[in-house]
Symmetry: C2
């Protein structure tokens, strides 16, 4: 028998027994204690630092552990083995799932484009039936009687699953042969409808209600819409962070984590927990029974979909990057593990490839791209950056691993867009003092994506950083200083923050942000060049995605994240993934449409594309090596320099300046 | 909290703790100890007699308990409540599941009638595939790649269930993109085929085999055929008693038992256990993996089908006798609980009504009745007696609750047809001594159905019983005597038996047998009269069913069980239920056919038919009140009287007799 050791986690006091030699991170999971491991347990990020009391561990050295750390008993949980009984202290605030993503506070699913009347053709329908009681001369079976009555309502060839028969006899007799039957109409295959299927049989004649669920299963956040099939309207929405984020910030880290023992099952459970908690919340708040949710549509990227369904995503990150499937099978809620009516079907949106998933096909539908004549660039900027270019006649797409920088990952003081995140920044070019705004006006806790875009633009415009993103140490002073990780600029002071330390950005953070923005821009360039177009030929740009909707276009253009096109070509289309799921839930034609979109999109694998590396390298500057591509930025830099000069040389007197230059 | 009591069963020594007040029979079930309760726990049959040591029981009086029984601590387990700690002795030989039903020792499924080439069109087919490995330029998903290759084999629009995707990626890569895919072709609905469905994906290119299972789920015995889909032949057969028989000999007793707490779940489990043990036996003996059994067809009566699927049969015995369903849904083996490939479909044969089940529709198919021009009477005489009259153009059916008399139930020394059962009887009309033959030439243990038919005929022909079945006590002597339950005739002596007591038949036993035979004959009469025919218009009589195949027609006619028609009109068609399941397994057209049969049969509910009671009462005599309906019997009785007279008056000298009568 294997030796066992006991691990107690503080401050919770949760204790677990594990085999000697087990990983400390795995012990925490077994104990139900959350330890962040944003890199997926690779030992790369150093975020899973905890303090061990006792000698019972085996720990490898790490660049993330200073001599002081080691002396204090700190270890990286993901790299440490349990060798004997220990007690472990988890630092306060490690679990990063607090708060609600702000993405959906104001979701407005009403304002949707659409080529058909997508509210009028759901697969799920309810029919109220009243049957004749049986007699010796009309001795049809209970089910036969139900079918006969359905046929009178023009529903024929219906099928019903065994579990629904278990209490049918008692139910029909108690309700005196009245029932509300909820059906799923059959798909159209080869021009013929498959037979309908009974999802639920409710006794009696009060309609118990019939609901659907549209879910955006994002890498970072998960959003659910509860939809009433009778009114075809959203009853309520709820959102939460994907509980998987403790085990990887981005999809690659999740894949890495899934390769650990039980890693896949653990990530699957976390996705289900996240979704089921949202379902519980929606049901409770709206007094809706889980059993009356009769269908669900899930839009997620290919990795999220694989993890949700318990499919090993291993080959998605090994060339040639092949997923197990792009068209998920029809599944029952019971088989997926979602707390809906067990007979409800769960549809996952079809994907194009490993890195263009069902969230993007959903977006192409709900943004209206699939039906437009205009040359359109659709960007979904979230944890990953997916880009689709096309019209109703052609579609081409790529995915650039933007990395989680804009979601707060890979940036020391980065954070997700919750209360306390700095979302807007202005820098005074004389004093270099930053003023800023935080979400909820809470004390500053860190920088979220929109704050980072602002900050980067301001640092560049004020000359604190140069075109390659390096902090100019000649400006060393109160704000520009040598930090423990090299040159840094302080945005907020410890006294004003909720964290007790200064909130600064350093050269490494900036390099990460430049890589992220370069990847997105280069992706756009590659798509245009692939179809022989210039960026300026793009007639409209649709920005979707969790993060996308909070971007200030002008500021994003200033750092070269978005192409320098007239702002009236830009439209924010919200959470297109959730909206696409919602439309698909209510309209079976949309299911055909989304499959056609998935079939039609030509996928460009950037890692196999030589042009991409060139474009990427060229985009690693602010705003770009090719200034001519960003005329508005050059213009505004020029204007800024001019304003400075007028201040300095003419005391700010425009009349004097004009006189001198007349 | 409820008080608990401990019950120990001897000789096993199994001990169980139950709530005080629990039934003793339920305690035995909980302990896994088998106590027979052939009447389903109604206290009617008195077979569940056990001896209780200790006072901890509450027992009602019963006509089945003599003063001596009570003094000895005997109780009826089904009527007794446990009130304190007790020890219970189970009499030896109580469990009645020993041995194998003889029904299928020599099953010959080759000799089947059939209108189409039913071996050539199974739903299950296997295809060996070789796929191109993926590359950056051919990055179709694993599943898409499989579908593409299937399309090249003319299989399109295939669906696959989630569990098959779990290891698909690893499987295809390990086998270097070779696989054998087993598919189920889609049903024909409204003239269009439903899409095919993948049942199994086996890695590599050696064909793992593909098998099907045809099961006759009888009230008394269960028979399974293992069929190879490649050869369309039966590989092996196995049979066992239905483990439910301890809890009811006939369907009505089973329904009664199912209404007890957990009764339904218990009967369902017993049916599954019986079937799964047969599957294990077939798999082991033929070196076949359970996962390669890709489809099953089950033919059972409506009650057996309901119990197998866990559907409450309560309303099947309450007027107007309505089953939950007659057309069972499509079900996966995993959902039914059968140990096959979990994705295998289990089809239950469609029924007509509560008392004309899937075993009979199977029989109408496999006996060829569904396709014949001749007016045919099909009798399935088993625990129940079902009768179908018709041609390919019309079908009418009824069910007569023959009761379990011919299966050994309701007859004191009755037993099922296993080793030691007396199956043939001759009585010397001078000495009244019986000679007999037992199954397996073992010492006599009791009388089985065919033995009882012989015995009844011989008793009648020798004048030991009169036309109404009463033993003539004027013949009192060594064989005819007063038994503890009244007049009886001894067939076998204790010294020659394995049971230690004489094997006799009494007036009550005979009355039960007369009721059984009268019900069958009256059923035949009612069907004929319903379509305005005389019994003599019947052109052929097909005898099926577990018991049917061992009947001696002449002897059955002699007692008025079967109509008095020329013996060349009679054909034995074997276990038509199993054969029908087998044909349906191999031929999807047969599935349409059997459904058409079920739709076409007109069911006559005898309990609601006035003519039936008259026919039944008229048939309660030997052979019948109407001698003219049994001319051959009158003739042979006449001949026998003549032979006796010749013996007595002419010393057996035929010449002398002839001379005297010339």
């Amino acid at each position: 028998m294997k030796k066992r050791a006991s691990v107690t986690f503080q401050p919770d006091g949760a204790t677990v027994e594990v085999d000697v030699g087990s990983g400390l991170l795995d012990a925490a999971i077994a104990a139900g204690v959350e330890i962040d491991a944003p890199c997926g347990g690779q030992g790369r990020c150093g975020r899973c630092k905890v303090t061990v009391h006792g000698d019972g561990v085996k720990r490898p050295p790490s660049a993330h552990l200073s001599a002081d750390d080691i002396a204090a008993g700190q270890v990286l949980a993901c790299q440490t083995q349990v060798m004997g009984d220990i007690e472990v202290s988890i630092p306060a605030g490690m679990a990063r799932l607090a708060g609600t993503p702000r993405d959906h506070a104001g979701a407005e699913p009403e304002a949707l484009p659409g080529a058909c009347d997508w509210r009028r053709n759901p697969a799920v329908r309810s029919v109220a039936l009243e049957m004749e009681p049986p007699s010796l001369t009309d001795s049809l079976s209970d089910l036969g009687r139900l079918y006969r009555e359905l046929a009178r309502h023009d529903v024929a060839e219906t099928s019903v699953a065994l579990p629904l028969l278990k209490d049918l006899a008692a139910k029909l007799r108690e309700s005196e042969w009245k029932a509300t039957v909820t059906l799923e109409m059959g798909d159209l295959v080869n021009g013929h409808h498959l037979p309908p299927r009974v999802i639920a049989i409710a006794a009696g004649d009060d309609r118990p209600g019939s609901y659907g669920l549209a879910i955006d299963l994002g890498t970072t956040s998960v959003v659910a819409y509860l939809v009433d099939f009778e009114t075809a309207r959203v009853v309520d929405t709820a959102s939460a962070y994907n509980r998987q984020i403790s085990y990887g910030d981005d999809v690659i880290s999740r894949i890495v984590y899934s390769q650990r023992d039980d890693g896949l099952a653990h990530l699957q459970r976390l996705a289900l927990d996240t979704m089921n908690e949202l379902i519980d919340e929606l049901c409770e708040r709206n007094d809706v029974a889980h059993a009356t949710i009769h269908e669900a549509v899930v839009a997620g990227n290919t990795i999220m979909t694989h993890l949700l369904l318990g499919l090993d995503p291993k080959y998605l990150r090994i060339e040639p990057y092949i997923p197990t499937m792009t068209i998920p099978p029809k599944m029952l809620a019971a088989e997926v593990g979602l707390k809906l009516n067990p007979q409800a079907h769960v549809h996952c949106m079809p994907a194009v490839s490993s890195y263009i998933g069902g969230d993007i096909t959903a977006g192409v539908i709900s943004s209206g791209l699939f039906a437009t004549d205009k040359v359109t660039l659709f960007l979904d900027i979230g944890t990953n950056g997916e880009i689709v270019l096309g019209t109703k006649d052609w579609l081409i797409a790529c995915s650039c691993s933007a990395g989680p920088a804009f979601e707060g990952g890979g940036v020391r003081r980065g954070m997700r867009a919750t209360a306390g995140a700095i979302e807007r920044v202005w820098i005074d070019d004389a004093t270099f003092e930053a003023s800023y705004r935080t979400i909820g006006n809470s004390p500053a806790a860190g920088l979220c994506g929109s704050g980072l875009i602002d900050l980067l633009g301001e640092l560049f415009m004020t000359g604190i950083i140069d075109r390659s993103g390096c902090i100019d140490m000649r400006l060393r002073g109160r704000h520009v200083r040598d930090g423990d990780l090299g040159p840094e600029y302080v945005v907020a002071w410890a006294a004003d923050s909720s964290t007790g330390h200064d909130i600064a950005i350093n050269d490494r953070d900036i390099a990460n942000l430049l890589r992220a923005k370069a990847a997105v821009y280069a992706g756009c360039e590659v798509l245009c060049k692939n179809v022989g177009m210039a960026m300026t030929d793009v007639e409209q740009i649709l920005i979707g995605g969790a993060f996308g909707q909070y971007i200030d276009v002008q500021k994003a253009v200033r750092i070269g994240l978005l192409p320098d096109l007239p702002t009236d070509r830009y439209t924010f289309v919200g959470n297109t993934s959730a909206l696409g799921a919602y439309m698909t839930l209510l309209c079976v034609d949309m299911r055909q449409e989304v499959q056609r979109v998935a079939d039609r999109i030509t996928y460009i694998e950037l890692s196999a594309d030589n042009a991409f590396m060139n474009e990427y390298n060229a985009a690693l500057f602010l705003p770009h090596t090719d200034d001519s591509a960003f005329p508005s930025v050059a213009q505004s830099a020029e204007a800024r320099r001019l304003a400075e000069m007028i201040s300095a040389e003419f005391g700010g007197d425009m009349e004097a300046y004009l006189k001198a230059n007349r």
